[in-house]
């Protein structure tokens, strides 16, 4: 208690220090005056009286020192003093400080932005849901490794049988057409189980959520919960929205509540607007048998572990339950097991892909930050050496090594933390800029990245780590200083500083790695736009339709597609039209289907898989993919031809060893098809992909309830036919919206979005790093040259030409730089071979980057070297 009080009081003294000093001085004076008077009264002479008084009082300065030490907190005072000193010395070198702070800020800002993505996906995967990362996915899994989804009845069974999880939640993503006939709008929603909102622990913004009993009996409760954004845009945020009716898939649903602001559903990053009880499925989806049929695996399940339960227990229970279901319902569940997955490993959705990409990006950016640190360390070291005298004086006056270290440390930490705060600001700006992601593919996507406590902590931690890293070298260097040496020597024999050179080498090496990575990435991005996709995207308009709300049968699906195509082809500006289930170069990729083909025996375990797209006749004409052999698919109305397939060249090469493919049979889960043609290879998933085998099936044989319309226009002006295409669809079915209308080029651009972000980062950071490396080298060399002025002067007087001096200086420094960059180069090579491309090494990058880097390095050496060679020998010798 007493010590606490003392501590507080001492803390208080920090503020009032000056006044306190004054007070003590006055007290001492008063004391001595009184004592002197006492002596005077005792009859001493004034001089003697004062002398005696002083003697009696004792050592004034020692007492003052003791007093001060007791009064305040020397540790904190020192720290404040150091900080003040740091502030002063930083303001004395504004240029250098600016370079350091800005480079650190950019490094930290970029890293923090990337981290905010990673932390969003790993730690906060469902915005507005607290502890969302603890949710586990419950995924039925087929023998072949596919994640099949769960049926409603299965969900009910699992809910009872997997007791290690509390409140398993089921949801199904459904597209809704909202609005009156002829002017419907496509909106995405989820059909959810009754416990959906309560299990997620959400509170409605207004109104209430779906009650458990509202998802018990089929079709009884026409209620809907809307998203906050939807409430704002459609109802202008009016509370009267509650109780209003919303026309969804030609049914009236009553709005009962609004979800919390940031909530976007349980399948992030997809953003949903409506949540409807799962029991409404038959009413909304044209009498679907989703709720009774165990083969309709449409639901995704998530759940959280009960307190005390382990994931192993949940997995064991799930396996038992799934095995039981497989015995009870062999036709629906045979061969289907179950797997518990962490949330971010969702088999549907881009999290997995993003995480691996982001991890690589983060790694590269951390390297960049390390290079920045190396650079800063070098600059500080160079500067620190010029301060040797100052430090020597400090040591000579009695500063301990720790005081010196803490002096340097506080200066660097101040720089680092300034950098970190600016970096955090950059990250805030960066993440908000990135939040505005466009709709990707058919689905609205939203990444709610933001800079929160964790990300801020990350930024500050990075800053502190940087500060420590680049303080280490100068601090050690200065603390080891011999004060006598520092005071005496005045640049006569400069200590050869190995540390600086090693640092320079390391920095150049790191720069090399990062620059090569950046160049590789940029080049792959650039080539993405220049590569020939081997089909003709120009002049093609894409648009999607979806009949799934009608729950149509195969006959009506086939008829609808046939009629739609007939109408579209009759438009004057349409050269060719086709429908396909998948569009190449989509962000989500095209599914691969397992198959067996006649004449191929697979020796190893597993299954052959090929890209699979179901297309209507005319597809190859629209896409400009020539058929190399055989014929086009039979017409949509043909009822006699057997099921057909067309394969690509790669398929023939890989699976049939180039033998004649026509007439062979191909067997997939969907049935048996005869190969009738061979199409040219083209790109399917991404630019730069290795050639992939592909199978095209005919829409005639396998009609689908949704499709992507491909229209090739005569004029080449594809947007012109948009309204005509819309009119065609409205004529066919007034309730059906045409959505996601875009030109093929737009489609490609949009799907390069995720690669464009890092591309931009690299485009900015690459030159920046190069500049930093140059500044670092420049600083080291010019410092070294400055210290050797005398030596150079001697050389020049003895007849060395300035050219030789320059050459020698460059040679000396370039040695280290070459070593560093060679190591970096090898490192980058290993990384790129291991991680990035499987193709041949990208020679232009691996030769060009070192050339540029070494060129810049040489220039950075040359400038100070030239300056040194121009000095007047006499002046140099008189230097001291």
């Amino acid at each position: 208690m007493r010590s606490v009080r003392r501590f507080l009081s001492r803390l208080g003294h920090l503020v009032t220090r000056r006044a306190q000093d004054e007070r003590l001085r006055e007290e001492i004076e008063g004391h001595i005056a009184l004592q002197t008077e006492a002596h005077l009264r005792a009859g001493l002479s004034p001089m003697e009286a004062r002398r005696q008084a002083m003697l009696k009082f004792g050592g004034v300065e020692a007492m003052k020192q003791d007093y001060r030490a007791r009064r305040g907190l020397p540790f904190i005072e020192n720290l404040l003093g150091d900080l003040r000193n740091a502030g002063r010395s930083i303001s004395r070198m504004p240029g250098l400080a600016a370079v350091i702070i800005v480079s650190l800020a950019i490094g930290i800002g970029v890293n923090t932005s990337i981290f905010s993505w990673i932390q969003l996906i790993l730690f906060q995967p469902m915005p507005a849901v607290s502890g969302a990362a603890n949710f586990l996915l419950v995924e039925p899994r087929t023998e072949t490794g596919g994640y099949a989804g769960a049926s409603w009845l299965e969900y009910r069974d699992l809910q009872k049988q997997v007791s290690a999880l509390r409140d398993i939640v089921a949801s199904q993503m459904v597209p809704f057409n909202v609005g009156e006939r002829g002017q419907t709008e496509r909106t995405h929603g989820q059909l959810v189980s009754g416990n959906y909102f309560s299990a997620l622990g959400l509170k409605p913004a207004i109104g209430r959520f779906i009650r458990p009993e509202e998802a018990e009996r089929p079709g009884t409760e026409p209620v809907v919960v809307i998203s906050y954004d939807y409430w704002q845009t459609r109802f202008r945020g009016a509370p009267e929205a509650l109780g209003q009716e919303l026309r969804v898939n030609e049914r009236d649903l009553i709005v009962i509540g609004v979800a919390p602001r940031e909530f976007q559903g349980t399948m992030v990053p997809l953003k949903f607007e409506l949540w409807v009880p799962a029991t409404m499925a038959p009413a909304l989806l044209g009498g679907t048998r989703d709720l009774e049929d165990r083969t309709m695996r449409a639901f995704s399940l998530i759940g959280m572990l009960k307190p005390g339960a382990t994931r192993q227990e949940a997995q064991a229970e799930l396996s038992t339950a799934m095995a039981q279901l497989a015995r009870d319902y062999p036709e629906a569940s045979a061969g289907i097991g179950g797997e518990i997955l962490t949330f971010w490993k969702a088999p549907r959705g881009p999290q997995r892909m993003l995480i691996s990409g982001l991890a690589v990006l983060q790694g590269v950016m951390l390297l960049l930050l390390l290079a920045v640190c190396g650079n800063t360390a070098n600059l500080m070291l160079a500067r620190g050496s010029t301060r040797q005298r100052e430090m020597a004086v400090r040591v000579a006056l009695g500063a301990g090594h720790w005081r010196i270290v803490s002096l340097v440390l506080s200066e660097n930490m101040l720089l680092a933390l300034l950098g970190a705060s600016l970096g955090a600001a950059i990250a805030v700006w960066g993440t908000t800029a990135l939040r505005v992601a466009p709709m990707i593919g058919v689905f609205p996507i939203l990444f709610q990245t933001k800079v929160d406590g964790l990300t801020l902590a990350f930024a500050i931690l990075l800053g502190a780590a940087c500060g420590l890293i680049f303080s280490a070298a100068p601090a050690i260097h200065l603390a080891r200083l011999d004060p006598q040496d520092g005071l005496r020597s005045n640049s006569n024999t400069p200590p050869r500083s190995g540390a600086r050179k090693v640092l320079m080498g390391v920095e150049v090496g790191l720069a090399m790695v990062v620059l090569i990575a950046a160049a590789l990435f940029l080049q792959s991005f650039r080539s993405a736009r220049q590569t020939d996709p081997r089909f003709r995207p120009e002049g093609v308009l894409l648009a999607a339709y979806d009949l799934s709300g009608r729950n149509p049968d195969e006959v009506s699906e086939r008829q609808f597609a046939a009629r739609l195509l007939d109408h579209l082809r009759s438009l004057p500006d349409v050269e060719a039209a086709a429908i396909a289930t998948n569009v190449p170069l989509d962000l989500h990729g095209i599914p691969r289907r397992p198959f067996t083909v006649q004449g191929r025996v697979r020796t190893e375990a597993g299954q052959d898989r090929a890209i699979s797209n179901t297309v209507t006749p005319g597809y190859f004409k629209v896409m400009g993919i020539p058929l190399l052999e055989g014929t086009e698919f039979a017409g949509m109305g043909d009822r006699t031809a057997p099921p057909q397939a067309i394969v690509n060249e790669e398929f023939v090469r890989r699976y049939l060893n180039g033998a004649d493919a026509i007439g062979r049979r191909i067997q997939t889960r969907g049935g048996s098809f005869a190969i009738i043609g061979v199409a040219r290879n083209s790109l399917y998933d991404a630019f730069g992909e290795p050639t992939q085998p592909a199978v095209y099936l005919s829409y005639r044989d396998r009609p689908q309830d949704q499709g992507e319309i491909h229209l090739r226009t005569r004029s080449g002006n594809e947007t012109a036919v948009t309204s005509e295409a819309r009119a065609v669809l409205r004529d066919l079915d007034p309730m059906l919206p045409l959505y996601d209308v875009r030109t093929f080029s737009q489609h490609i651009e949009r799907n390069l979005f995720l690669r464009r972000i890092p591309a931009r980062m690299f485009a900015v950071l690459g030159p920046l790093l190069l500049g930093l490396a140059a500044i670092g080298i420049y600083a080291v060399v010019s410092y070294a040259v400055a210290r050797r002025t005398k030596e150079i002067g001697v050389r020049l007087t003895f007849g060395a030409t300035s050219g030789r001096v320059i050459l020698q200086i460059i040679r000396e420094n370039l040695g280290v730089i070459t070593w560093g960059s060679a190591i970096g180069w090898v490192l980058a090579l290993v990384i790129s071979v291991r991680l990035m491309t499987k193709g041949p090494v990208n020679l232009p990058v691996f030769l060009g980057v070192p050339a540029i880097l070494l060129g810049v390095a040489t220039l950075a050496c040359w400038i100070p070297a030239r300056r040194a060679s121009r000095i007047d020998p006499m002046a140099a010798l008189r230097h001291e």
């Binding site: 009080r5 003392r6 003590l24 006055e26 007290e27 008063g30 004391h31 009184l34 009696k56 007791r70």
Partner: protein, 102 residues
Amino acid sequence: MMVLKTLDVLGPLHGYGIARRIEQISGDLLAVNQGTVYPVLLKLEQEGAIASEWGASENNRRARFYRLTREGRKQLQVETQDWEQTAAIIARFFEAKAEDLS
């Protein structure tokens, strides 16, 4: 403790007075440097045992007067008791003769 007792007996006093008083009471046996009283005063003030304010000294100089606070009085009491106890124990050790122990 000596400082506290001094202030207890004499009331508010300045640093010089305290130093003098300690010298007098101890019969000049404790001839320490008078300056050392100030760090002690500071410690006591930080602990809240004494308080100080400016006042005029006998020679009409500005001087800082220290006085005992309630806290200080309590502390003095406790310490006096402690001291007396300790002293009593020590005294008994000195009085104890060999035969008493057997």
